[in-house]
Symmetry: C2
Subunit: 106 residues, 2 copies
DNA sequence: TAAATATGAAACTATATGGTTGCAAATATA
DNA sequence: TATATTTGCAACCATATAGTTTCATATTTA
């Protein structure tokens, strides 16, 4: 079973969960109130997010507070870095390359 | 069928395709040489990437060159922005919140 | 102690996903 | 023109995914 950050953020409900607990740590019950799905479904999403270390939990009595491990989000940022260099270049080297190929073929 | 940028980058083969064509536009055949899977499987990945506008194509004779629409990658960057604000804060407000809850409960 | 609350796990289901093989269409080349 | 090359699409398959309902466990509260 694949279980990485990219697979974790693929699901829109999980992205919403991440955004919610980024603002404030929450219990599964409180989280579930924000969605149409069942509490158990939210729990399954929390498990997936836990398995790739995007969130951590802290038990307080019978409640479990889930919070975002925001450092892990940097993994996505690191992957984006290689493309950031390209999109910050005003003149596209790709268009340039295609133009070159076209000329060669003629 | 869901078809957004986040779902597109969830697959490791598609992330590899993106990284390859970011450097240089490529045909499906050339791309497929970089992977274990069949050319047809690569074509299916290209279709998914096309459907969410992450790539575009240009036909030259019987060859079709696929190139990255690097602007679309910014969608991911935009989503990350909300978390970047948090991870750039040295002192975690989440730990703070949990500490507050603990005190209230005592 | 008994009841209520919060949670996770198990079993099940429908659909999505990623892969394969075979084929048809378009273009280039002999 | 006949053949080779490049490509996308259809049909099929095994597995993953996201959801449900039911149940067991732990903790709080009456």
């Amino acid at each position: 079973m694949r279980r990485d950050v990219f697979q974790a953020i693929a699901d829109p409900t999980r992205r919403a969960i991440i955004a919610l607990i980024a603002l404030q740590a929450m219990t599964p019950n409180t989280l579930a109130e924000h969605f149409e799905t069942s509490r158990q479904a939210v729990s399954k999403h929390l498990k997936i997010l836990s398995e790739c270390d995007l969130i951590s939990q802290e038990q307080l009595g019978r409640e479990i507070y889930y919070k975002l491990e925001v450092e892990k989000m940097k993994d996505i940022d690191i992957w984006l870095e290689q493309f950031r260099k390209i999109w910050e270049t005003k003149f596209s080297q790709l268009d340039d390359l295609l133009a070159t190929i076209k000329k060669q073929k003629k």
